[in-house]
């Protein structure tokens, strides 16, 4: 077991949590992410292999699907992100590559992204200050990628009071600042 300590995207050893006027913004570092892109002509085969490996049916565009703590969401034509708890899945990319074989190209994306969970009744009031998405109309399980305070981010609607924002890890502090500032401005 290696002896290097990880730090979070915001640079701490513990995940950052902020509460602003009843809305919590939580940094979530404990997730592994791998990108899965179907190889040419292998979309069906990839679907079958994923079903076999994870028991999950590949989601339609803008949608997500999950089972046993693992989530798959659509990111582009024949492209998906797979997200799993990092504790048991640190080498998720390798595991998936083995399972999916020649049906897909798998790439580790874990530390490409910072995830912030935003929870509270005021979610949409805050998001309408940050990005174009009509979060009030978003259906549960939808994931859309857009520009959020000038950073390209995925926004996942879990419920109307629970969203996850996945943004470029290097920009974590700016994204966090944007979320907190918008919450202070829009709420309370």
């Amino acid at each position: 077991m290696h002896n290097l300590k990880a730090i979070t995207a915001l640079g701490g050893h513990e995940a950052q949590v902020d509460t602003v006027h009843g809305l919590t913004i939580t940094e979530c570092p404990d997730w592994a992410i791998a990108s899965v892109a179907a190889r040419m002509g292998q979309e069906k085969q990839l679907g079958a292999a994923m079903k076999k490996a994870l028991g999950i049916t590949m989601p339609k565009p803008s949608k997500s699907a999950g089972k046993g703590g693992i989530t798959v969401f659509w990111t582009g034509p024949n492209q998906y992100f797979v997200e799993a708890p990092i504790a048991d899945n640190e080498t998720l990319a390798n595991t998936l590559a083995d399972a999916l074989k020649r049906t897909a190209s798998v790439t580790e994306q874990t530390d490409g992204w910072v995830r912030f969970d935003v929870q509270g009744a005021g979610c949409s009031d805050v998001f309408e200050r940050l990005c174009i998405l009509d979060t009030r109309a978003m259906i549960k399980g939808t994931v859309s990628r857009t520009s959020l305070e000038h950073s390209g981010c995925f926004v996942m609607c879990r419920t109307h009071a629970y969203f996850s924002v996945y943004g470029p890890r290097s920009t974590a502090a700016s994204i966090h600042h944007g979320l907190v500032t918008a919450a202070k401005s829009a709420l309370g």
């Binding site: 290097l4 730090i7 190209s105 790439t107 530390d111 490409g112 290097s170």
Partner: protein
């Protein structure tokens, strides 16, 4: 402090007095006042001086179309010029100052301009200030600069924040007067998602200013009930203090919400304003109408206002501009002002009605068939000269005059996107045309339907229609009983009698004479009329003056008004603060900041950072005692070349390329060969643009048969990825290749220097042999370090030293840096920043963005032979064009000063040792330069004509901007270790 012109009633709160000052004098007003209404109530009619002639002016209107009462609000950092007093909400301790006058509003020395008006007519600046030519820079320009401009800036940072936001709706309703409120009720009850926006702080529109009843009760009752119902509907969003500023493509509208303008200071964390983008399926424009004046000689004196404005001040704000008011009108609406003022105890000296058949009155004297031909009273109107129907003259006393020339439907927003309004003869005004923005319809006064009953009904009907269009079935609603009186207008645009100036555009000081001059000088097309005279070009966009100008031009040209046409309407509807357009992207937040994995550690070391695009990179790491950056940089270079240094290179783009056709694909993207690159090997790659110019360079490492990691320069990471996706999806869509960016996912460090391997051997797990034999130069592979952490190792070198780049998942980047610095202690390891990185790559002649400058080809870089002619790749065909392959083409060379104490200055141009210095004799230019501690002098890289054949030649580097000339020797660009022995150690 008595408010001598305060009336009773109105929508202000007489129980909440507010203190304010104007031009240093203290006054009192009430909650609900605007600055203008409060000043009028205090007997102040003089509020400004006009732009060109500095004529004394007061408010013409009671709204955002105001041309004259433009003041500076607040002091200190929040000082704000060019605010309309007619819309500024009064708050306690508000401080306002008049503009454009010196030394005071009452006595303005610049009013001398008014005496030279004959020389300052339209377009005067095209005819003056020409002679003598020398006077322009020294005399005319400085004078004009001092005299020009409106208002002054605080020169301090704006302390407030501005938000941006995004809203979505089925129906956007612009304006919350009777039409807009009826529309909102109709749509709200139908369940549509509705946004109702009004620029005013109170909904109700014209109803707030009139004494109309709805269902035989005060209009305020229906308004309150309506607003209460709208507030209860979760699908309706009412936005007051929100101006819709423009109709943009495809149902996108811009709106500015003034969240805190009416407060002394915004609440903590709250924005001053929000700039909203509204995405709507349908829009109903209920923006009402704006009254138009009638031009006559000296019609611009303080106290001369639009009749409806005087009515608004009396009914809504309980203020009157004077105790004796006259009316000048061509329609019945003007009479309404007289009636409402009379009811409030204000005397009406006369109603001067241009119509021969003007209605009579039992309360007030009506002069039918009469015209106002002049006015007296420099600092405020005192008396009118009236020409009666029989031609005789009469004086009428008054200290305010309400002028009503009719109403112009507010077509502005319906005419964005080049829509043209159409003429409606019945009301002698323009109404929204048929080619307005898609999905927008107009209702109420904005559509030329002027009665309240008409507005309510058309608001409802337009809404039913609009919603049905988008599949929302909507029922009619029960509308309150309302007045439906006709206006009975007889068009009358200007008084022809009188030799003096009659004002059209009061803000830009454009008169009827100016329009006549434009016509005489053949600027007759309406867009020429506008620009030659500047009519309609001020901050009010001619809302109260365009019509008058068109009418007069029509007369002169012998055309009808619609034949003359209107000028193009453009957003914003009213001025928008630059702060609102900037939003939160100010100062440090101008763009997102990207931090490298070692950022925290570097901060602890006291590193100096540099912005590289959005990234912050350590530029150098000063040690205690170092006072100049050269000390740090020189030290870092020397120490790295002597032993070992570490540099964070995470920022360079990394693109993961996989698939059965990955090698074939890369072979077409790069101009040099990649099809046969062995697994476990890395190769330098040169990427051309399709026109043969170099786009970017980097490396591609083959980790497996169908798996490459491509690197790009930091600056081009995004554009290269975009280009690669274009090639993949559009040019070769059937190649089996998949791409994804991994720039962020992996922390990457360069470990360089004679002891680089030894340092790494202390952290690389023992099962991985990184000796020179097992891991030669340009090798690559997946390894583990520190007891099993997955990592990637690339033996590539930008510094020219024995070097590796080691990558780990980013979350371990901080720990890895600390571990390597610890492991490297025995080797005196140093961290090095971008400056030292730059010095070392120049010493090796490696190109970067300075050389890849968008004009350089592979040939210019000395890499002409790298462009394979045996295969197709992006840019290879056009790279062979004759023009790019001239015999004396620029070639990259090394440059060394003949006198080692002299500097090499990047950007200097290269000239022959002797001869003229000009564009014709230009031999090239210096692209990169640095002091080389390794060589003991400045060195540089540059492009030199036929440089490949000029080694040893002495040339000049010239910088005419600073009168610099330095003698340089042309040398090999590989200044240091040209054989690359260190690389391969």
């Amino acid at each position: 402090m008595t408010q001598i012109n305060r009336l009773t009633g109105g929508l202000i709160d007489h129980s909440k007095p507010l203190n304010f000052s104007f031009d240093g004098k203290s006054y009192q007003g009430y909650a609900g006042d605007t600055l203008a209404s409060a000043l009028l109530a205090n007997g102040v009619r003089l509020m400004g001086r006009s732009f060109k002639y500095h004529r004394p002016r007061g408010p013409l209107t009671a709204g955002s179309e105001e041309p004259n009462a433009i003041v500076e609000l607040r002091t200190g950092a929040r000082q704000e010029p060019n605010t309309r007093a007619t819309t500024a909400e009064l708050f306690d301790e508000l401080i306002a100052t008049s503009q454009n006058r010196w030394p005071s509003l009452q006595f303005d020395a610049m009013a001398i301009n008014d005496r030279f008006s004959n020389f300052l007519t339209a377009g005067f600046y095209y005819k003056t200030f020409m002679w003598p030519a020398a006077f322009w820079e020294k005399v005319y320009e400085p004078i004009i600069r001092k005299a020009a401009g409106l208002g002054s800036l605080s020169m301090q940072d704006d302390p407030d924040a501005y938000d941006k936001g995004f809203l979505h709706c089925d129906l956007l309703i612009i304006g919350a007067g009777p039409a807009g409120l009826a529309s909102a009720l109709t749509a709200g009850r139908a369940g549509a998602n509705v946004i109702l926006a009004d620029e005013d702080y109170a909904c109700g529109g014209r109803l707030n200013a009139e004494t109309f009843t709805l269902d035989d009760t005060d209009a305020s009752v229906w308004i309150a009930a309506t607003l209460a119902e709208l507030a209860s509907l979760p699908n309706v969003r009412v936005m007051t203090r929100t101006t819709v500023i423009g109709a943009f493509d495809h149902g996108i509208y811009g709106a500015v919400e003034r969240v805190s303008d009416h407060l002394a200071i915004p609440a903590p964390d709250k924005p001053r304003q929000i700039l909203w983008r509204i995405y709507t399926k349908r829009t109903v424009l209920c923006a009402g109408a704006i009254e138009r004046p009638i031009a006559f000689e000296n019609n611009d004196r303080p106290g001369i206002m639009l009749a409806s404005a005087i009515r608004s001040y009396a009914n809504r704000w309980a203020a009157t501009p004077a105790r004796e008011v006259a009316i000048f009108t061509n329609n019945d609406d003007g009479h309404r002002t007289a009636a409402d003022l009379t009811a409030k105890g204000v005397a009406i000296s006369a109603i001067i009605d241009t119509r021969a058949n003007a209605p009579g009155s039992t309360q007030v004297e009506v002069l039918a068939g009469a015209q106002v031909v002049n006015s007296l009273g420099r600092l405020g109107v005192k008396q009118l000269t009236v020409q009666l129907a029989d031609g005789s003259m009469r004086h009428v006393h008054c200290e305010a005059l309400g002028v009503s020339g009719g109403w112009n439907p507010n077509v502005h927003i319906s005419s964005h996107q080049r829509g043209r309004p159409e003429w409606n003869t019945k009301i002698a005004a323009f109404i929204p045309g048929k080619n307005g923005p898609d999905g927008l319809s107009a209702a109420g006064a904005a559509m030329g339907v002027f009665s309240t009953a008409g507005a309510l009904e058309s608001g409802m009907n337009s809404t039913i229609s609009a919603l049905q269009d988008i599949g929302i079935s909507t029922k009619p609603i029960k509308l309150p009983k309302a007045e439906d009186v006709p206006v009975n207008l007889q068009p009358f645009w200007h008084v022809k009698a009188g030799k003096g100036r009659a004002w059209l555009d009061q803000q830009n000081d454009v008169t009827v004479k100016d329009v006549k001059l434009a016509h005489r000088e053949n600027f007759r097309a309406v867009e020429h009329l506008k620009r030659y005279t500047t009519l309609g070009m001020a901050t009010d966009q001619g809302k109260t003056s365009n019509m008058g100008g068109l009418a007069i031009m029509a007369e002169l040209a012998g055309k009808s008004i619609p034949e003359v046409g209107t000028t193009i309407f453009r957003p914003p509807y009213t001025p928008v603060a630059m702060g609102a357009l900037g939003g939160r992207a100010v100062g440090k937040n101008f763009h997102p900041t990207r931090k490298t994995p070692s950022h925290k550690w570097a901060e602890e070391q006291g590193a100096v950072f540099v912005e590289v695009g959005n990234w912050l990179r350590a530029q150098w790491f000063p040690k205690a005692g170092e006072t100049h950056w050269r000390q740090s940089v020189d030290r870092e270079v020397i120490a790295t070349r002597k032993s070992v240094g570490i540099c964070d290179v995470t920022t360079l783009g990394k693109i993961d390329v996989q698939g059965a056709d990955a090698a074939t694909y890369l072979n077409r993207i790069y101009c040099n060969g990649f099809a046969k690159l062995a697994v476990g090997k890395t190769r330098y790659g040169l990427m051309l643009r399709e026109d043969g110019i170099v786009m970017d360079d980097g490396t591609a490492a083959r980790l497996a048969e169908g798996h490459f990691v491509v690197t790009t320069t930091t600056a081009n990471a995004v554009s290269v990825y975009r280009h690669m996706e274009f090639c993949r999806q559009c040019l070769w869509p059937d190649l089996d290749v998949q791409l994804i960016s991994t720039t962020e996912s992996w922390a990457q460090y360069a470990v360089a220097g004679p002891n680089a391997r030894k340092l790494l051997q202390k952290i690389v797990d023992p099962e991985f042999d990184i000796s020179n034999e097992a891991f030669p130069f340009m090798g690559c592979g997946a390894i583990t370090i520190c007891g099993g952490l997955r990592a990637r190792l690339f033996r590539i070198s930008f510094s020219g030293e024995l070097a590796f780049e080691i990558a780990v998942p980013t979350r371990y980047g901080d720990a890895l840096m600390r571990r390597m610095m610890d492991a490297g202690k025995e080797f005196d390891v140093v961290p090095y920043g971008t400056e030292a990185l730059g010095v070392m790559r120049i010493e090796k002649g490696h190109a970067t963005g300075n050389e890849l400058n968008g004009t350089a080809t592979a040939l210019n870089l000395g890499m002409g032979r790298m462009v394979s002619k045996a295969k197709d790749s992006i840019g290879s065909t056009l790279s062979e064009r004759t023009g790019l392959n001239e015999p004396d083409a620029l070639m990259q060379v090394g440059l060394k000063p003949v006198d080692p104490s002299e500097p090499v200055v990047a950007g200097s141009h290269l000239m022959n040792k002797t001869g003229d210095v000009n564009a014709k004799t230009d031999q090239g230019y210096i692209t990169s330069a640095a002091y080389s501690p390794t060589l003991g002098s400045s060195i540089g890289l540059g492009f030199l004509k036929d440089g490949g054949n000029r080694k040893g030649e002495i040339i000049r580097a010239v910088n005419p901007l600073k009168n610099q000339e330095v003698l340089l020797e042309v040398v090999s660009m590989h200044f240091f270790d040209p054989e690359g022995e260190r690389l391969r150690a």
